[in-house]
């Protein structure tokens, strides 16, 4: 993985491409926006707790969008909430990443036909990096989604944003 595999030829000097350095720094401290919507948020909180320990991947909740790197859309997005989420997303500084968690955020879930108030997929409003399926997904699934996001960030290029 880039940075730490490099030769330590002299004392304190590590040589690595700046892309690898940036990507390593970004993927190792994804601060997520402290934001939950529905029952998926309960699983997300469980993932943050000591048993599943999101923090070991550098994920900590940040209570302002201006200092957050990622937003986990954890639950049913109503049309009313979608306008707020869009604003939160626009307030986040780039690079910013989005995990869509659970069936509701992915595609409307059980509300796909008669949910007059539900947005049928958060990707109609903001671009999604990783979709985590499940209703709700277990913490393991969310962790897998995070690892997928980390993989995506690891292969990012400074010239062309992929994630």
């Amino acid at each position: 993985m880039g940075l730490l595999d490099k030769e330590f030829s002299d004392g304190n000097i590590v040589i690595a491409p700046v892309e690898d350095l940036f990507n390593w720094a970004r993927l190792s401290s994804i601060w997520q926006l402290g934001f939950g919507l529905a029952c998926c948020a309960i699983e997300m909180m469980a993932t943050s707790m000591s048993h599943y320990d999101f923090d070991r991947f550098g994920v900590i909740p940040r209570n302002t969008p201006r200092q957050a790197d990622a937003i986990i859309i954890s639950g049913t997005v109503t049309l009313k909430m979608a306008t707020r989420i869009k604003r939160l997303y626009e307030q986040m500084p780039a690079p910013k990443y989005i995990i869509s968690m659970g069936s509701c955020a992915n595609c409307g879930g059980p509300y796909w036909e008669h949910g007059y108030h539900v947005l049928k997929g958060i990707d109609r409003v903001i671009p999604v990096d990783v979709y985590v399926p499940g209703c709700p997904p277990r913490p393991e699934a969310l962790l897998e989604g995070l690892l997928k996001l980390q993989d995506k960030i690891r292969n990012e290029s400074l010239r062309k944003k992929s994630a």
Partner: protein
Amino acid sequence: MKNAEEIFNILKDNFGDAVIALDKDTPTEAVITVDPLKIHLVGEFLRTNEDMMFDSLMCLSGVDDANGKKVKDADGTDIIEGGTLSVYYHLHSVSLKHKITLKVSAPREDAKVESVENVWKCADWHEREAFDLVGIKFLNHPDLRRIMMPYDWEEGSHPLRKDYKNPEFYQGMKVPY
């Protein structure tokens, strides 16, 4: 403690024509039908009269009875013309341990019901919900705005009406799947 028949007779003595009917053939409490423009007076009486003491409005629900005539719209879908919308009031007396259900019905096209917000304070948000989702207008309500749908949701569009049609877009977001 009073049974439904006694409550109905007392109401009939006090309000006459404003109290319309008693329906005891229900799986739960008996239902007393009341005039929608007198419901606040009946409510005030039921709450304060010492034989009644209905101090708790357990639930207030708006209902689309869908008992009108089904007609085809211009685009071929069914809409309902005529008939009624109803509001049900589930009352409970904590001190006297009796229950009753009140019902008012108003014409679907222009459903106007007196607010009971100044009888039972908790009716405030319940009535806003019934207005938002079914479209019943509560007269003399202090703040009759939508409560769950967005404030800028299409005027006159109430999602729990039986002939409701979802809009294609809301603020540029596609609504259907």
